[in-house]
């Protein structure tokens, strides 16, 4: 059996290539060769690092002085590799690498599916858990800094702000923290809530309203976002999503950037579908509790939806408007409710519309 070959040896002190005759001694489990100066080298196969590269099979031996052999002979390479396989020298990592493309592709598909599942189930759950650990003051700070960044660009209508606060005072909004209402002059048909309890309503959306019950519905909806800490939940979700991706992709930075981004875009942060659903349900309850006609809510949504010339932002970020209207209409049908006249609310509403 031919268990010798010629190979190139580098002694680790210079890059001079030296031709050697290399032989495999399977009995002693060594590789043996003779140098030009006549000395014989014996390497224990177990102490040699093997690496199959495009340039051949590369062998390395030694720690501080790294000796190196390059073998090109395919037959001899097979011989060594078979010897190593037979003696269990192939590491588990190499075995995983040797599984082949199809298996590796399978691994990729499985991991991607896991990522998808985590996004849908585990991350929202983890975020929910972490929110309960974060003190409420943090919500306030977040809201205050978001508002501080935005208010310079907003034209606050102080008179209407006062009217809206009076309007809200007449209502029970089930709020756990103090809510501050602000009216901003803008054609944008929008309203949003910040985590510190600031609720901002644009004059654009007020103009669209026909009755005070619609405004109650809107305030109820926004108050629910504050009461349920939806902003903080969204922040926790995108953070834990980011953390998760960092772990998966092995990236350690960028978490701070996510927090920064979120604070800045808190205003436009579109609440997820389930948060909107919850806010609608809570808003509805608030309407009932205040004995205001709940049709106001559904009327507002329907009217805004019909505004096809400019899709209102308030709804555009919520793709399932139809479902939401159906949901409210169904509740109106199913639930018994009483309404009473609210002359005070009506008066304030008329003034707000002016």
């Amino acid at each position: 059996m031919n268990n010798t070959t010629t190979a190139v040896f580098y002694d680790g002190n210079s890059s001079v290539p030296q031709q050697i005759v290399l032989s495999l001694n399977s009995f002693n489990r060594t590789l043996e060769f003779q140098l030009a100066n006549g000395s014989t080298c014996k390497w224990l196969i177990q102490e040699v690092t093997f690496d199959k590269r495009a340039t051949g099979l590369h062998l390395e031996h030694g720690l501080d002085v790294l000796q190196h052999i390059k073998i090109k002979d395919a037959h001899f390479i097979d011989l060594i590799q078979n010897f190593r396989k037979a003696n269990g020298h192939i590491g588990w990592y190499q075995k995983l690498i040797d599984l082949g493309f199809a298996t590796h592709f399978g691994i990729a598909v499985v991991i991607m599916a896991l990522i998808g599942l985590c996004y849908v189930y585990i991350i929202p759950w983890a975020a929910e858990q972490s929110v309960s650990l974060i003190p409420e003051e943090y919500d306030n700070e977040l809201g205050t800094s978001a508002w501080a960044g935005n208010q310079y660009f907003m034209d606050v209508d102080s008179e209407k702000t006062k009217l809206l606060n009076d309007f809200a005072k007449e209502l029970k909004l089930q709020n756990t923290k103090k809510l501050k209402f602000t009216v901003v002059n803008s054609n944008e048909i929008n309203a949003f809530a910040l985590p510190d309890g600031s609720i901002v309503v644009f004059t654009g959306i007020l103009k669209e309203m026909k009755n005070y019950d619609e405004l109650v519905g809107l305030l109820g909806h926004e108050a629910s976002h504050v009461n349920n800490r939806h902003s903080m939940k969204m922040l926790c979700r995108s953070l834990s999503g980011y953390l998760f991706i960092s772990v998966i992709l092995g990236d350690a930075n960028g978490i701070m950037a996510t927090i920064g981004d979120n604070v800045n875009s808190l205003q436009s942060l579109s609440f997820s579908r389930e948060f909107e659903h919850q806010a609608d349900a809570d808003g509805f309850k608030i309407l009932l509790e205040n004995k205001v006609n709940p049709k106001g809510m559904s009327n507002l949504f329907k009217r805004l939806q019909q505004q096809s010339y400019a899709i209102p932002e308030f709804l555009s970020s919520h793709p399932v408007t139809e479902n939401r209207i159906d949901f409210i209409d169904k509740m109106i049908k199913d639930k018994k409710f009483q309404t009473v006249a609210h002359p005070q609310l009506e008066r304030l509403f008329v003034q707000l519309k002016q």
């Binding site: 002694d11 680790g12 210079s14 890059s15 001079v16 590269r53 390395e60 493309f101 990729a108 092995g250």
Partner: protein
């Protein structure tokens, strides 16, 4: 054996890696990283670097990367410790109602880490790279480099960034100028003024041409990085020369983007392979250094802290 050659010769630089092989490594690494909740990362990084180095060859002999996951894991822990201390100081100052001081210390700390990270990363990477058993090495002095770095940063800040290109070139000259390959020395001759002009021209023309010029800009930058790099030993030298064209960059970048988008990122292995191949195939090396007569001069250096700090800071300074 003669140290220098009588005639100038061409050296061949090649990348022999295959996308499908690299894909396998990335997927196995990914799996292990997920299973270990991220702790496998340093080992994964070592395996990837090993594959890339091993697939790169000079005159038909491949490079080797000897860094290990264990070394990088130790460095990783030290890097985490350093960052925790920085964040700890920040949080402490915020709790003491001194957020301003805290942020100031934090950023000064961050800037102070930068040169240490770059220095450490160069030392580690170079010392752990070899060809035919001959190690690379980085001979820069940490203290000297840190002081220079602060000087450049200071100039950059007071000139509102105008000094940036000079800083970039000074840094490149220093770092690459201190790289050794056995007894061969690297040299980089960048000039801040030229680099500044190159970038201003690239920037303006890219805007005027609605982005079309960006490929020429890319080509010129590549040329500037490659052509100013040379190797020398005594009187013998190796000169590098870029062959890359703007069309080549266009093809590379557009195909890479399409590959990434249509494979949901799984095509990364092929993107990386194509990119490295493109870079190496577009570098011509010519000169009279006898590569068969290099001698070992560089010592082993196994502290990967700088390498890991650079990773945290997302620095990619190696050449």
């Amino acid at each position: 054996m003669e140290e220098s050659l009588e005639k100038r010769v061409e050296y061949s630089l090649n990348y022999n890696g295959k996308g499908s092989d690299f894909f396998g490594i990335i997927m196995v690494n990914w799996l292990l990283t997920v299973i270990t909740l991220g702790f496998y990362y340093p080992w994964a990084k070592a395996k990837q670097l090993q594959y890339i180095y091993n697939s790169t060859s000079l005159n038909e002999d491949s490079f080797a990367f000897h860094g290990t996951g264990k070394e990088m894991f130790k460095g990783f822990l030290k890097a985490i410790l350093i960052f925790s201390i920085l964040y700890g100081v920040l949080i402490f100052c915020v709790l003491q109602q001194m957020p301003g001081t805290g942020v100031l210390i934090f950023y000064i700390g961050l800037v102070a880490i930068l040169p240490i990270a770059i220095h450490g990363s160069y030392r580690y990477r170079m010392s752990r790279s070899s060809w035919r058993g001959i190690r690379f090495g980085y001979r820069g002095d940490r203290k000297e480099f840190t002081l220079l770095f602060f000087k450049w940063i200071f100039f950059t800040i007071i000139t509102l960034g105008v000094y940036g290109p000079w800083m970039a070139m000074n840094m490149r000259n220093y770092l690459l100028g201190n790289v050794r390959f056995g007894d061969v020395e690297f040299q980089y001759d960048g000039d801040g003024g030229e680099y500044f002009a190159l970038n201003i021209k690239g920037y303006l023309l890219t805007i005027v041409t609605l982005g079309v010029y960006s490929f020429w800009w890319q080509k010129e930058l590549f040329e500037y990085y490659v052509n100013n790099l040379s190797l020398k030993r005594g009187d013998a030298k190796i000169y590098l020369n870029s062959k890359a064209t703007a069309g080549g960059f266009f093809q590379l970048i557009v195909t890479n983007i399409l590959l990434l988008v249509f494979t949901l990122g799984l095509g990364y292995a092929w993107v990386a392979t194509r990119t490295i191949k493109f870079i190496l195939e577009n570098i011509e090396a010519e000169g009279n250094i006898n590569l068969d007569a290099l001698t070992q001069t560089e010592e082993n250096y196994k502290d990967a802290t700088g390498e890991d700090l650079s990773d945290f800071l997302n620095l990619d300074t190696i050449m």
